[in-house]
Amino acid sequence: MDDTLIGRGLKRTPLPRFLLWLVPWAALLALGLYAVYLCFAVGLNQTNMDNRFAFGLWIYLDLTVIALGAGAFFTGFLLYILKKKELKAVINSAVVIGFICYSGAVGILMVDVGQPLRAWFTFWHPNVHSMLTEVTFCLTLYLSVLAIEYAPLVLKNRRIKEVPGALVLEHQLHKVMVVFAGIGTLLSFFHQGSLGGLYGVLRGNPFAFRSQIGIWPTTFFLFILSAAAVGPSFILLTTWLVGKVSKKRLVSPEVFQTLAKISGSLLLVYVVLKGIDSLVWINSTSPKTGVQVSSFYAHPPFGTWVLFAEVVLLGLVPAAMLLSRRVRARTGLLVLAAAMACAGVVLNRYVMTIQTLALPSLPFDSFLSYSPSWQETAAFLAVLGYGVLLYSISFRWLNLFPEERELATKG
């Protein structure tokens, strides 16, 4: 049964070994699901969030995985709209990773809210002024788009395509994929931006608040750009990782080169704009609220090193590395640069979520600390477990890397 599901010409590890690989990830998922059950049954008192630290690990996770999952929409945009044909080699994998990231984020969001059964209120009684409304709309719609983009991969499976009509449906879906890529890009632009806007509109929080361009705060645009920049890096990183774990050549080196160049160029633009935004914030936006920016960095461990690490160490440096031909020629350095780029965005989302909430606001407030409960951590890790499980199954039975067979034949 297993052999007949694996694509022709592809070699996969024996089934027992594959099942053994799945066990720890399944255990992680099971533990997380138990934690989720506790949160639903007993309440969010199972978490260590409170009235002051009202967002925590889960919102941070949402922001991070959605930024990293941006590779799906951006690769689709580059391939179908800008006709970067070489990216066909990674588009399937990008779609699966995007689906994992977005479905994981939506799942965790449903646990994070106190009344998940009222989620439909946002669609029925939307507050059009809320960034969260935009996030909710675009996130759910884009998850549907990702599911549609995922469908042809499943339909092309060796056994499933024997089902009458499956190939016809796959062919029809393939023909309209350019439309979905376009819709996906539009939706992603908005929700990536709105996630940044979530914090940029906080008029009561001078650390997070940013000046507006049109009707959006600058964080709206910075989040779009940073996600588009690290999306290709994350695809590069995961493709390299899957190749290492499976001990296979999955894509030609040119694909890594293209991803690195795109990621590096966008990251450089992002770093420049982030620098300008920081200068405006330091010299204008924050002083207007009566706060000098140095005050934000006078509360350890959040010193100015955080800003330096975010903009220079994990921004400018990886951008320069990804754009350097000599670095790109060495896989180890290339992967390191991609990892640093991803780490920069991970740090940015951490700062926006955690530092924003930790800083004192009332005159008699103190710097706040928060550490997630085991239930929060387990639910967080469950997304990782779910992701590895779904990706592993997809890698085994679906053709995620179209060049794999050809590269295997070449040896």
Binding site: G43, F53, M131, P363
Partner: protein
């Protein structure tokens, strides 16, 4: 997407609470009266200072930077801002600014429990119901029938005892009057304060006591630089305390 300005046209009535810090003894009667009036359940045994449900929290502040000096008690309910940072962020319109009264209402039955409003509020005056509300046997008989009980997983806050305003309106309407008698609308906290540290009224009425107090040189607003336009006004005869309490917490020296 963008932030709405609620201050462009101020409401016909601007219900305002004035807190005289020189008079507040920190007894907590305001918070207790608030809890009884608004059906706030007894705290869960596992609740902490940061997870309990409190609509009127009394903070302690010191006049000197080193934490020395006499203690000042600062009661903080929802500041009922004219330019509230919370209204725009709610994804499903569970927070409303009443353009007739300036009161910012929280509507628990619409609330998703996303807590974005709590993150947006710099005064931290909201509580999330982390536990299912429970009252000891027999205590349910003391619940206020004019205030609905909130479920687990929603956010709640002070609304200047708006049910008392509705009752005052009903009374005025029955008497054939268009305006309420100010004496008929007094929030529970103001009523309960033994040292008369709290004054309440319509600041849109220039002749009212609260309008005069709000204009007074000894009055100030918390986090005024943020432009939220709070309708809770604080007073102190101590200029050092006024200056310290006017700052943003992150700049505290």
């Amino acid at each position: 997407m963008h932030t709405q300005k609620h201050t462009t046209s101020l409401p016909a009535h601007r219900y305002t609470l004035v807190v005289d810090l020189d008079r507040c003894t920190g007894c907590g009667a305001c918070g207790t009266a608030c809890a009884v009036e608004n059906n706030i359940p007894p705290a869960n045994e596992k609740a902490t200072e940061r997870t309990g449900t409190v609509w009127m929290r009394v903070h302690e502040a010191r006049t000197s930077a080193a934490g020395a000096g006499p203690t000042t008690f600062v009661p903080i309910p929802c500041q009922q801002c004219d330019n509230p940072p919370c209204v725009d962020v709610c994804p499903q319109r569970a927070i409303e600014y009443d353009p007739r009264t300036g009161i910012v209402g929280q509507i628990p039955v619409r609330c998703l429990g996303c807590r974005y409003c709590m993150v947006a509020c710099p005064y931290h005056t909201r509580s999330f119901n982390w536990w299912t509300p429970e009252w000891p046997e027999g205590m349910k008989a003391t619940l206020n029938p004019d205030v609905s009980i909130r479920t687990r997983g929603v956010v709640e806050k002070c609304n200047f005892c708006v049910q008392r305003l509705q009752a005052a309106r009903a009374k005025a309407s029955a008497a054939g009057q268009t305006e309420i008698d100010p004496a008929d609308y007094v929030p529970a906290c103001v009523e309960a304060c033994p040292s008369r540290a709290l004054s309440f009224g319509d600041a849109a009425d220039e002749k009212s006591e609260v309008a005069a107090l709000a204009r007074d040189g000894e009055s100030f607003r918390l986090l005024a630089a943020l432009g939220t336009g709070p309708k809770v006004v604080y007073r102190s005869s101590d200029p050092v305390l006024r200056e310290r309490l006017s700052r943003t917490g992150v700049t505290r020296g």
